[in-house]
């Protein structure tokens, strides 16, 4: 039986909109095993991205607990959460979120600035990550000099450079054409299969979701039944 890596217990999230409290997530109970590849689908406003943000420690739940590898991350302070994120989570966004002033290699190196690795080791890690995503020859290119698919590959290299066990992907193919999207999904699948990364991916695209081991449906803040 696979070891459970992520456990959400009765997780809820409210936002205030003026005087009104809006309930975005309600009573989410979820377990994700180490090495799992989970797709999160649902209509706009169903709470997918909110759930992903909670899993990644970008936001805190209004109720319930989130445990990752036995640690209750929902109880951590902002400073402790930042440190935890840098070591445990790699993020991949729909619009890549690369810093335009840095080359591909330097964007990838960013998370390593938070480690105590010497410069030579950091460079080694960056080269490995870029090679893995097939962009070693584009290391010195700036984001504006790359295509959308290449930018997303750089973003994936940045997400894996510090070797976190979990990748959280928010619509990673949402801004790409079909063939590029397939390439990106194949890359994520490879990271899951060959490198044991646990992946949680929000997507609207059934084709992208088909790469996941199971797909969870969120509707009006509640989790539906999983599809294998």
């Amino acid at each position: 039986m696979a070891e459970q890596l992520i456990r959400l217990t009765d997780v809820g999230k409210n936002y205030r909109k003026g005087r009104e409290a809006v309930r975005v997530l309600d009573g989410i109970n979820l377990g994700i095993d180490k090495g799992d590849f989970v797709g999160l689908m649902g209509p706009s406003g169903s709470g997918k991205t909110t759930l992903l943000n909670l899993l990644g420690g970008l936001d805190k739940p209004s109720q319930g607990t989130i445990e990752v590898d036995g640690k209750v991350v929902s109880a951590l302070s902002q400073g402790a959460l930042a440190k935890w994120r840098s070591g445990n989570i790699g993020f991949v966004f729909q619009f890549y979120n690369l810093l335009p002033v840095l080359s591909a290699a330097r964007n990838v190196a960013l998370p390593l600035l938070l480690t105590s690795l010497p410069a030579s080791r950091r460079k080694q890690h960056v080269n490995t990550a870029l090679r893995l995503v097939g962009l070693a020859e584009r290391a010195s290119h700036y984001p504006r000099e790359l295509s959308g698919g290449q930018e997303q590959r750089v973003a994936i290299a940045r997400a894996i450079v510090s070797d976190p066990p979990i990748l959280l992907c928010d619509e990673p193919t949402g801004d790409l054409d079909r063939s590029t999207a397939d390439e990106i999904m194949a890359l994520l699948q490879q990271l899951n299969r060959d490198y044991g990364k646990t992946i949680v991916m929000v997507t609207h695209d059934p084709r992208a979701a088909s790469y996941a081991h199971r797909v969870l449906h969120l509707d009006k803040g509640e989790l539906g039944a999983a599809q294998q």
Partner: protein, 386 residues
């Protein structure tokens, strides 16, 4: 790649804007340095200690009224007086240049009273040996290109010679530096005997007396003693410290200094505002990226440090360079107009500290508000901002 690379690349995000901001900082602190130089020149606040202790006795009515030469021996006899000498305003011009200070003096007495005049023994002896000789402060010599051995004509607006001419010629026998507050550095000194013998009128009178106490009587007592000695005489006196006299003299130019100071301060302030606004704008544009950095695990503290360091890197080196250039400019102006600016144009430690404080204020004032506002937002809000 290290944190400095991140700071450096962020700083040059928009090279033209960065260059213009640097240019503005350069102009601000260049002007600031000139402003400080002018302020200090007009305030004469750093006169040497000697000027605080030497007394200057002039006619009670006005400095332009003469005092009898015989007063010297009477002052010398007063209790508490160590040494006394005299000077007179000569009012000479060299060619078409503005008037500067020249004094006929009794050389040995004057040099003894003004120990800050740094005249080499060789020049001193040459001057003492030449009745028509003069010694001159280095700023004056530099401005007019005078060298030892030159014979220079000065046209006096006050004193005519017995032969009816108002042109007086002097042999430059020495050039001196002023190790004190600079009050003597813009001066030409020549022999009183030569002046007394050649002048057509006013013989036996001098402009003012300079006295040094022996320390046995407080300065206030000595000043009162001197003035009491000549009370109810045809030429009553007014005695003050040399420093107080210089301040009073400088006050005549105070309004010019004040106006120049105001104009420059307004310019500096306006450019500071524009610079601050540009720097703040540059931080505001990066709100989304601050969200990305926080997502990757950068703490608010580390982002705060990166942003402030970037601001300092933009302002401090350029600001210091500007102050260096301003200081160079003050030296050039002093060199060229030394005769008009006896104290020279210079800045002191206070000016440097004030300049550095302003640089810090511009940086923190423009960077802190947007960065603090950004760091207060949660990551989700930061990532949502465009």
């Amino acid at each position: 790649m290290n944190r400095f690379t991140l700071i450096w690349r962020n700083m040059w995000r928009k090279p033209v804007r960065t260059l213009f901001t640097m240019l503005a900082v350069l102009v601000v602190f260049f002007l600031f340095t000139l402003l400080e130089g002018l302020r200090l020149a007009f305030s004469l606040s750093d006169l040497g200690a000697e000027a605080q202790e030497r007394l200057l006795t002039s006619h009670k009515v006005s400095l332009i009224m003469m005092l009898p030469e015989a007063y010297q021996s009477r002052i010398a006899r007063l209790p508490g007086v160590d040494a006394v000498s005299h000077s007179t305003w000569f009012g000479g011009r060299y060619q078409d240049h503005p008037e500067f200070a020249q004094y006929p003096v009794v050389a040995e007495e004057y040099l003894s009273l003004n120990a800050e005049i740094d005249l080499s023994e060789e020049y001193r002896q040459a001057w003492l040996a030449n009745r028509g000789g003069a010694v001159v402060g280095r700023p004056v010599a530099n401005q007019y290109g005078w060298q030892v051995g030159d014979r220079v004509p000065l046209k006096s607006s006050i004193w005519t010679r017995a032969n009816g001419s108002n042109v007086w010629e002097f042999d430059i026998e020495g050039i001196f530096d002023d190790s004190g507050g600079g009050m003597n550095s813009g001066v030409l000194l020549f022999h009183y005997d030569y002046f007394e013998e050649a002048r057509a009128w006013g013989k036996g009178t001098v402009g003012w007396y300079v006295t040094r106490g022996d320390g046995s009587i407080p300065l206030e007592g000595l000043m009162a003693g001197i003035d009491a000695e000549f009370a109810n005489s045809p030429a009553e006196t007014k005695t003050n410290t040399e420093a107080a006299f210089a301040q009073e003299y400088a006050r005549q130019f105070g309004n010019i200094g004040f106006i120049v100071t105001l104009i420059l301060a307004a310019v500096v302030f306006m450019i500071m505002l524009v610079t601050g606004h540009t720097m703040a704008q540059s931080v505001r544009e990066r709100i989304h990226e601050i969200g990305v950095l926080k997502t990757l695990g950068f703490t608010s503290g580390s982002i705060f440090r990166l942003t402030v360091l970037e601001g300092l890197l933009l302002v401090l080196p350029v600001g210091l360079l500007a102050m260096l250039l301003g200081w160079g400019m003050l030296n050039v102006v002093t060199e060229r107009m030394g005769a008009m600016l006896p104290g020279g144009l210079k800045i002191g430690t206070y000016s440097v500290v004030l300049g550095l404080s302003l640089m810090l204020a511009i940086t923190l004032g423009s960077v802190l508000p947007p960065v603090i506002r950004a760091l207060r937002l949660d990551i989700v809000a930061l990532l949502r901002s465009s």
